[in-house]
């Protein structure tokens, strides 16, 4: 017990008496440690078969697409754009249908969509999280608000289109509203469930320790609900992209949804696929960012799950 640093983590935790000295190396706060851990996991990931399986998955999808459209020319697939046509268009400096990596319009569409999703997502988060936490925490608030929410929630974004156009004068308003709605419901509901998921004994312990009602909210409700809140945010950003397209089809001159819809009416089929794939990639990246923020904010949880019981 003399040299604490030499003891394994397990032994240290079982150490008896005041002889167990503080050990600086056990502090998990350092960023360097986090970066090192991340690198370690990344190297392991590269060594495992998982990344190659991922690549294989994409190859299979594109291969099937290529074979069915360009090689076998299956009955209903003949008129569809094949992968080579799409890639040629996408990489062309002078695209046949006006949209590729080299045209500024392409980026204007992406940025417009990103901006709409961003505004809608921020609004849904800023309103949804506090509302959900309060509904989950206060019985009175729940009685008022929850039934109304549950009634509105199943109405799909598309059904809101007429009202959205009537409600908002600008062209941006309805699109953002339609993008906002499902994201908001997902965030609110998950935040509420997050509060319900908190073990009753944490509330009791906080009561015993003399925490006021506001302190309970700040120190128990908010961090305790966080895992569910972030699940909600991941779902919500997905839904935002989902309904963005519905919104952009009714309004606007720009945006990926607009690209897809107008390309259809203008018979520029490769552009449809360019729009779809871009939408998928941007959506995937935005969910990943939310997930990383969540993991970063809930270090305690990763450690609990990773090192549980020890």
């Amino acid at each position: 017990m003399a040299s604490d640093a030499e003891m394994g983590a397990m032994d240290r935790h079982r150490a008896q008496g005041p002889s167990a000295a503080p050990d600086a190396s056990t502090s998990f706060g350092g960023y360097r440690m986090q970066i090192e851990t991340a690198l370690y996991h990344f190297k392991n990931w590269l060594r495992s078969p998982r990344p190659y399986l991922m690549v294989l998955g994409f190859i299979l999808l594109i291969g099937f697409w290529w074979l069915s459209v360009e090689v076998w020319k299956l009955p209903r697939f003949a008129g569809m754009p094949g992968p080579t046509a799409v890639v040629r268009e996408w990489l062309s400096r002078e695209p046949m249908f006006g949209l590729s990596f080299y045209t500024p319009d392409y980026y204007v569409h992406i940025l417009t969509s990103l901006q709409r999703v961003f505004i809608a997502f921020v609004l849904s988060t800023v309103i949804g999280i506090p509302l959900g936490l309060v509904i989950g925490w206060s019985r009175t608030a729940r009685e008022y608000i929850f039934p109304v929410l549950e009634m509105l929630r199943p109405i799909p974004a598309l059904a809101w289109v007429p009202l959205a156009i009537l409600m908002f004068k600008s062209s941006e308003g309805p699109v953002i509203f339609l993008t906002f709605l499902p994201a908001f419901f997902a965030t609110t509901l998950n935040s509420m469930l997050g509060v319900h998921s908190i073990d009753e004994s944490y509330f009791r312990a906080a009561d015993c320790l003399g925490a006021s009602r506001w302190q309970v909210f700040r120190h128990i409700v908010v961090p305790g609900a966080l895992p569910f809140v972030f699940t909600g945010l991941e779902i919500s950003i997905g839904l935002a992209w989902f309904s963005l397209v519905a919104g952009e089809m009714i309004a606007g001159e720009y945006g990926l949804g607009y690209v897809i819809y107008t390309s259809y009416t203008m018979v520029s089929y490769p552009t449809i696929v360019i729009g779809m794939i871009t939408l998928g990639v941007v959506g995937y990246v935005s969910s990943s960012i939310i997930r990383s923020v969540g993991v970063f904010l809930m270090g305690w949880r990763t450690r609990e799950l990773g090192l549980g019981g020890q």
Binding site: P223, G299, E304
Partner: protein, 284 residues
């Protein structure tokens, strides 16, 4: 050794829990489930009172009433001269003079161990964060918990978590510790270490302990008195003063007196366990 006991009593003049014919009926008062039926009990200050009874007999209901989580249907509970709950006030206010250590542990997993330990005094505004941390470090060192301050509860073993939770309680200088089968989930080796560490804590802090268990050996080893409860409805069946000398260590488990005490209580407990079994009460 008798002098040590007397000294303990002399220094701890506070923290007497007195339960007077407590009744708790769940559901409709006329025909609901009677969990506790006219139960009376006194826990002397600075002593460890072990409450033993079959699972689901209503011990936890009693503890919840003392802690202020539940109301009583009738009867009264006093802490020293203060009425916690009683006529006109069915539910006690939870307070930092009576702190519960929960069966499954209730350290906040999103706070580090030291943040957990300082929670009470900081929330109540009694100490600034820095002072509280200094005090916490000292108390954790005394309890042999140095080196884990900045770890999260999920990173330490469940036995250590219980000890951190007890330190978190002691930071508030409570009169009473209420323990609800805190060592139930631990393996027997860890349990024996926990027992000795709890006794040491009690010797140092002169604190009244209300300890619920269904482990008779644990009850006799730790207790100054053992209260055996009847199966639901819960009532005191037998009160036994444990005259084993303090300070105790695990060698007394094999002593003759310990065996005699075990024999003396075994029958009573077994009888209640059989009754509970026949009633088919579920665990709880």
């Amino acid at each position: 050794m008798q002098t040590t006991l007397d000294q303990t009593k002399a220094r701890a003049l506070r923290g007497t829990i007195r339960i007077e014919s407590a009744v708790k009926v769940y559901g409709n008062p006329q025909n609901g489930v009677v969990a506790v039926d006219h139960c009376s009990l006194e826990c002397p200050p600075g002593e460890i009172s072990m409450v033993v009874g079959p699972s689901g007999c209503g011990k936890t209901t009693l503890l919840n009433a003392i802690a202020g989580f539940h109301s009583l249907t009738s009867g009264a509970i006093y802490l020293d001269d203060e009425m916690l709950c009683g006529p006109g006030k069915p539910k006690a206010d939870p307070g930092s003079d009576r702190i519960v250590v929960f069966q499954n542990g209730a350290l906040f997993p999103w706070k580090t161990n030291i943040e957990n330990v300082i929670f009470g005094p900081v929330m109540q505004g009694k100490l600034a964060v820095k002072e509280a941390k200094d005090k916490a470090r000292t108390m954790m060192a005394e309890a042999g918990l140095s080196g884990i301050e900045n770890d999260y509860p999920g990173q330490i073993s469940s036995g250590v978590r219980r000890r951190v939770e007890i330190v978190r309680a002691l930071m508030n200088d409570p009169k009473v510790l209420l323990l609800d089968e805190p060592y139930r989930a631990l393996d027997s080796l860890t349990k024996s270490v926990m027992h000795e560490s709890l006794l040491e804590t009690c010797y140092r802090n002169r604190i009244t302990v209300f300890f619920i268990t269904h482990d008779l050996e644990e009850a006799i080893f730790l207790g100054d008195q053992v209260v055996i409860m009847t199966s639901r409805p819960c009532r005191t069946k037998k009160l036994l003063k444990i005259d084993l000398p303090h300070p105790r260590d695990y060698s007394i488990v094999t002593s003759r007196r310990f065996r005699e005490l075990m024999d003396e209580t075994m029958d009573a407990v077994h009888e209640e366990a059989m009754k509970a079994f026949e009633l088919g009460e579920r665990e709880g």
